[in-house]
């Protein structure tokens, strides 16, 4: 039942274990709640279902074809508490091309058990962990891989949960969080096809078992903030030549271990909400000598938001990235190495020593939140390129939403976003939730 077409067998094992445990506890929870007021079993599982049908002008495969009918069914279960524990399940069955292709995604994004023991909170199972107080741009966000090829109108839905043990010690407004995430979920990127080059995602192997992190967080008082550390395979790949032959070159996407030291802060001053987030990433190429590995970097976000006219929220951020030991790969003599190094820089968005960018996200809610209009805009200067993601969501009633928007990548072809121009698309979606 629970399987995942685009992940490895190891993940399936996790899923089976998780599914059995979940099913057992869900059954217990149903039984427990039956002792109370009688109600249908389904209701006791606390289900929320969302059926979505969408039209996308383009998918993420760089195909010349236009027009995709994407459909998906999302299920969330929040069963009643049992044995002082809570269960949670969230998954979906999705097809990017409902009519034209048999390929589908069946994904159990989250299936975990949560329990509090005094000041200690435990969450075990597959879960989506998100770090960072920046708005949409989060340098400390390292835990969850994303399936960027899934056609979804909410970018957060592309996150893939992973099996993890998450412990939080709560001391008043402070929380000390420790996470061990031994499951690796392979990310999926829309990479432009290059003639004669095929790509292979390379499993990080045992390095996946060494994914762990710590975070000291405080929420409340005059400011919210945290300091964090992450160790594990990066979600940004390094490139390597796996094989070369007359038919072309097979390039591997390797996810090598990084250490990320980060922090964030959010506070309000008058009518403005300020937020900042920064991270230093120690990469596998600490000397910066290997052009096919991304370099250590400092990535910072600083911004503010303000609400005007009651419903217009403007969120503006500066983005800054410093790449340590940056070398201009255009100076590499060997054309093949140079070509791959350029791609490496593009994928890891390490195009200069110092990079500046902005993000801007205005959102407006009309008619008592019946219509919500939002446009997320990110732009990097120098090798200019950016992303504009406008979206309008109209609640026809409590169950039905109509969504329309687009994902427009623009800029130079040799920029982080500009290379994705050919997957720019407009979309519309009807979403029925109950």
């Amino acid at each position: 039942m629970i399987s995942l077409r685009h992940v490895r067998l190891k993940s399936s094992n996790w899923l089976i274990v998780g599914a059995i445990a979940f099913a057992a506890l869900a059954a217990l929870s149903v039984q427990a709640s039956e002792e109370g007021a009688p109600s249908p079993i389904l209701e006791k599982l606390g289900p929320s279902i969302s059926l979505r049908g969408a039209f996308w002008d383009r998918d993420k495969s760089y195909s010349s074809r236009r027009g995709y009918l994407a459909s998906s069914a999302w299920l969330t279960l929040r069963p009643k508490e049992v044995l002082s524990s809570k269960l949670f399940f969230d998954g979906y069955l999705a097809k990017n091309d409902t009519i034209g292709s048999p390929k589908y995604f069946a994904e159990a994004r989250e299936a975990y058990l949560e329990r509090s023991m005094g000041s200690l909170d435990l969450r075990i199972g597959r879960q989506v962990i998100v770090w960072g107080r920046g708005d949409k741009v989060n340098p400390t966000d390292q835990w969850s891989s994303k399936n960027f090829t899934l056609l979804t109108t909410d970018d957060e839905d592309s996150r893939l949960g992973a099996g993890a043990l998450n412990l939080a010690l709560n001391l008043d407004r402070y929380r000390l969080i420790a996470i061990w995430q031994p499951e690796w979920r392979m990310p999926n990127y829309p990479i432009p096809p290059i003639s004669g080059i095929s790509l292979s995602y390379v499993d990080p192997g045992k390095a996946a078992y060494r994914q762990f992190g710590l975070k000291l967080d405080q929420t409340g008082g005059d400011f919210d903030g945290s300091l964090s550390f992450f160790n594990g395979p990066s979600r940004t790949p390094n490139l390597s030549v796996l094989s070369a032959g007359p038919t072309g070159v097979n390039v591997g996407l390797n996810f090598e271990t990084v250490q990320v030291y980060g922090g964030d802060i959010a506070f309000n001053l008058g009518s403005y909400g300020f937020r900042a987030e920064a991270a230093y990433t120690a990469s596998a190429d600490s000397a910066g000598t290997d052009p096919l590995k991304f370099n250590p970097e400092f990535y910072g976000v600083l911004g503010a938001d303000r609400t005007l006219f009651e419903n217009l929220n403007l969120n503006f951020q500066f983005l800054y990235k410093h790449v340590f030991k940056f070398q201009n790969v255009r100076e590499i003599a060997d054309p093949n190495t140079q070509s791959m190094a350029v791609q490496q820089n593009l994928i890891s968005n390490q195009l200069r020593n110092n990079q500046l960018g902005i993000s801007f996200r205005p959102s407006y809610k009309f008619f008592n939140e019946t219509l919500e209009v939002e446009a997320a805009y990110v732009q990097w200067f120098y090798n200019p390129g950016g992303l504009l993601r406008p979206k309008a969501t109209y609640a026809v009633n409590d169950h039905l939403k109509a969504i329309a928007g687009g994902e427009v990548y623009f800029g130079q072809r040799d920029s982080f976003f500009g290379r994705l121009q050919d997957v720019s698309s407009v979309f519309t979606e009807l979403r029925y939730s109950f």
Binding site: S48, V130, G220, G273, R306, T307, E310, K365, F367, T370
Partner: protein, 1046 residues
Amino acid sequence: MKKYLSWIVKHRKSVIFGTFIVTLGLLAQLRSLHVIIDPDSALPQTHPYIATGRIIENVFGNKFTVIVGVSPKEGTVYQPSVLNKVSRITDRILKDPASIKSNVMSLSARKAKDITGNDDGMTVRPMMEKVPTTPEDLLRLQQAVEKNPAYTNLLVSKDLKTTQIVAEFKKIDGGFQAIAAIVKEAVKPELDASVDIQVSGLPIFLGLLEKYSQRMGFLFPIALLIIGLIHYEAFRTLQALILPLVTALLAVAWSMGILGLLKEPFDVFNSSTPILILAIAAGHAVQILKRYYEEYGILFRASPNGDKGEMSRLAVLKSLEKVGPVMVVACTVASLGFFSLMIFEIKSIRTFGIFTGAGVLSALVLELTFIPALRAMLRPPNEKEVHREQSRSIWDRITEGFYRLASQRQKQVYIFTGLLILVLSLGGFFLKVENSQKGYFYGKIAERLDDDAMNSKMAGTNPFYVLIDGKTEDALKRPDVLRAMEGLQLELEKSPWVGKTISLVDFLKKMNQSLNSDRKEFFKLPTDQNLVAQYLLLYSNSGEPGDFDSYVDYTYQRGVVTAFLKTDSSTVLTTLANQVKEYTKDHFPADVDVKAGGGSLGGVALNEIMIREKVLNILQILGAVFVVTSLVFRSLTAGMLILVPLLAAVAVNFGVMGLFGIPLQIATALVSAMAVGIGADYGIYMSYRMREELRTHSDEKEALARAFGSAGKATLFVSTAVAGGFGVLMLSWGFMIHLWMGFLIAVAMLVSSVTTLTLFPALIFSLRPKFIFEERKTQTMKNLKSVPALLILVFLAGSAQAGAPLTAVEIAKKSFSASKVADSKSDSTFRLINASGQERVRKTTGSTKLIPGTTDNQRLVIFESPADVKGTKTLLIEHSKGDDDIWIYLPAMKKVRRLVSSNKKDSFVGTDFSYGDVIGHRVEDWNHKLLKEEKVDGRDCYVTESTPARPEVGENSGYSKRTGCIDKESFIALRGEAFDLNGALLKKFAARKIQKVDDKNQKWQPMEIESENVQTGHRTVIEFQNYKANTGVSSDLFTARTLEKQ
């Protein structure tokens, strides 16, 4: 909206500066605008005619054929002077790099060969190595041409009075006008009184299409002037002349910039689209302008000696406040309709969709930013202008007439308009789907006359190609294939439109005849493949390698049969293409592929696809209009009614085309798409205005008459201006596309505006749909109920001390803490009800706890339903001495987010309660006044009034004044009102089902509270269930930890 507009007016200089910067930025994008001039580059290359055309082009080099005819005024073509002219023209064409050398054919071209038999076999010589000068040589040339039937009517006409040069050209920079110029330059030195020289062929007409499309350069300013003049006539003020045009021009500039920004190409089929954008943008501007003058007139009459500048700014605000939302809807509908065309494969249609959609949105943005800012800076209208605008004019009399018709004579309206639409639509039965690129131009222009002359004298100026693909080498030497080709040629020549066919077959027949002593009976195909091969070998001994390049490929696998047609009519071409298909089935061997394509069929393909997609796109725009208007009005009836004027316009348009013999082709199909895009606005503006007037006027008749006088009149202005603007196209003499468009758009505007003012309102009056009239019912009922009372989730209570009179501040303090229990738990149902009575329901569970030793509350609200917000949590922590803290947890984001809390006026999770209403307005921030005491619902109450103690309190709360009827027993405000910063009534509050929840501390709680925004008609009712006070709620609940837990 009001606050936003106030901001715009307040910062008008910055807004104008910002517009200037954006305009500059977008204008800078024009350098990226790529203009496509080759029509078939816009086509999907998968169309069979185009795909075949590409093969023919690649293999045989046939692409753009130009034909030059030379006819001496005296005698036959066999005169040295004529032949010299032919020779020189041929040489000049051959010298030009754009010509395809191997495909140039004329008496002097090396490709024209005389094939004769001799003792050794066969001699192949150029037909005319040098121009003959003696009568003997001239006669020899004439005999040579006559002996080679392949050239009859192709090189020399049957009456010997015309000869032609057939040249083929490649695509070049500079487009088709450049090709036409090359040919004209080659011909020019030979023009004299002794000969008539005609030039024709597809490139000449495509060049003409480019040239005439460039007329937009002067037609556009004239259109601007006419639209401006019509607006001036309507309003009689300079502002009316200029401002809509400023919006329109900026919208055109912006949309062109956006097109450049998106790297979408621009093409000749979109050359008239700027006028469409101009018309739509000006139309919206007029709706607002009309309202501005109305509002200014009202203010002016109320206070003739008031500050005119202030009145003007107020009128700007009021007009936009009323019309702005409608414009947002109308523009959204229109732009969604246009943007929906982006899914089409044809670049031209995509460009049309993006260009027009961006133009409409640009107009919207400009009308909501730049124009109010600019108008607030301009001199207000003087008394004379106000009077002139308000005075009754012909426009008023027409709209009044329409109102009387629609309201009093509905049956007549149905019968008359129904019959008229029906009769006119019946013309649709005569509608021809027909495309002729030459038919785009008036028949008497020089190029058409030349073309007609060439078609009557020679084989025809329109090539039609049939590709024969034998799949294997030497297939074209097979007798069965050759026989089938010969049969195909004979079949094609049966058509009166085919003047000549030519293929390898003609040359093989001639070779066979030549090798058989030129005997006539041997003018037939050899029956043996080896013989064919030998003939070709013999030919190659004296012929040239490229002689057959335009008939067969190097390996004899593929060949082409060329027919010369006397017309480029799509009907004739399609019939021939079908004939080829039919003939092929029965006569060609199964292993041979036969396909028509390229040449004039390229135009047919373009037409076929464009018409099909345009018709689809009309349906799509209609669908989008229906869906969006249904959603916006929340009524399927509204969606259907808005479609009535559009469907009428489309039906009449097709009917009129049939009646006037205007063919349905690319340009005319575009007109209907444009008409639908423009016409939707009228119904939307009318519907909104009717609804608005019905809301504010008790007399239904007067309300509807006012709607006609305002939105109806503006509809007339707009449709007249659009018709006038497009009417300019009729000045484009000789260019039928412009003439048809000018005429048809005028018809479409007439039909859609008249239908909007007759049939559409008649249907509304008859059907009395809820989306117009229910509003009124709801409003009346609400007024009757009159449930006011300042209520906040939190407040009030405490018992009055008997006997001791309380001050206003004491009452406010008691009211503030009336329901502040130590802690509480409850379930709540939020009902959000819009002006049309439609309801959304949210269920929540909530907990509160006072921070020990203070009156500051902590509140946690968890959403349980609907499904899409389930799991959303908000945590509020009040701080009497500073800003409150607010966090929100959205399950989709998986993280807690701190919100800015100083804006107490922000809506609380989409309800009509603000955060300030929920948290409670601090007593010390307001000045309180006890107005009176009275009974409300049988209970004794204090009636109080509170005004902000400091300006920022007003700014933060969004209220300039609050009033309340506070129950003397519970100190709960049973009713209340809040006024916005302009002093207008904004909200009404009510509290019901008051229960004592803490006997010991005398705390009370209303179990139902309501807030109604009277400016939008939206209201929120919150009911509390399972309310329990003082149960010992843990402080741990009010932390980020709880927010992140399931």
